[in-house]
Symmetry: C2
Subunit: 184 residues, 2 copies
Amino acid sequence: MRKNYGAKPYLFPQPVLILATYDQDGNPNAMNAAWGGQADFDKILIDLSHHKTTDNMLATGAFTVGIGDAKQVVACDYVGLVSGDKQPDKLAKAGWTTTKSEFVNAPIINELPISLECKLLQVLPDGMHLGQVVNVSCDERYLGEDGLPDLGKCQPIVFDPFHHTYLNLGEVVGKAFADGKQLK
Amino acid sequence: MRKNYGAKPYLFPQPVLILATYDQDGNPNAMNAAWGGQADFDKILIDLSHHKTTDNMLATGAFTVGIGDAKQVVACDYVGLVSGDKQPDKLAKAGWTTTKSEFVNAPIINELPISLECKLLQVLPDGMHLGQVVNVSCDERYLGEDGLPDLGKCQPIVFDPFHHTYLNLGEVVGKAFADGKQLK
């Protein structure tokens, strides 16, 4: 037997996506985007209603996506609760500082190790914002010996839409494009 | 200092999305979709090039999304490696059985606890398939006492696009829409 929940936003585990933008005066802002995902090799799609962030994205044509992590979970949650219009010092309250991306006109949150630096390609119906990923970068302090982000150091979190909690990742349980070969 | 990787599909942690469809003769098929996410409260977006699954989606107007989990990691990886056109008994090889959704003309994989049952709304440019979630269901054996899926029983996995591994979830590290209030 199955239990039915109706039409709910239960695709999961969901990444925690922190969007950072500049306004027209170059002031940085950030928000927690509930819904989004990878769309094509070098594109991402973020669903957004009207926010200061969407105004900024349209004005600058750019945004970055920082990956929420366990060390910053309180700040990540906070920037999803408060509007930058009503709280101009929102980033300071979150304890975050920024550096301008080398690649797009948008700020990188220094406290979040990984950032996807994007140009705004298109706003599709229903507020779906399509971004062209121009560069992905990681703070070198969070790299492993292989030169890639070390997830033990970065501590990315996921969102559980059933219980509204954030969770750490656990152990590796499989190798993609490899484990399935045994059934061939 | 930051390390730059260029334009890469590094939005993460990514959910593992198993699409299930019927062909025109009612034969079930399944595949592992690399890229997708929640898009709006009751919509999801999956990026797909041409597959047997996309033919089936267009023919039936429906699909389901099963959430990949640790117990089924080998099968989840397998259905991403092999085409249903070339391997007609792909589901049997994966060890999977199906039940027709009560809500859409698509199969639910019985071995994956959670399923999002969707109508195909639209195929956007670049192969982005927009689905209307009609129902989400969970096998009752995987529910917690609160009537919601128990993630300890379901064991959903995520994909790490840097190292091409699948990972379990770990402990709860925060409460959404709550922890951030302390910074207000």
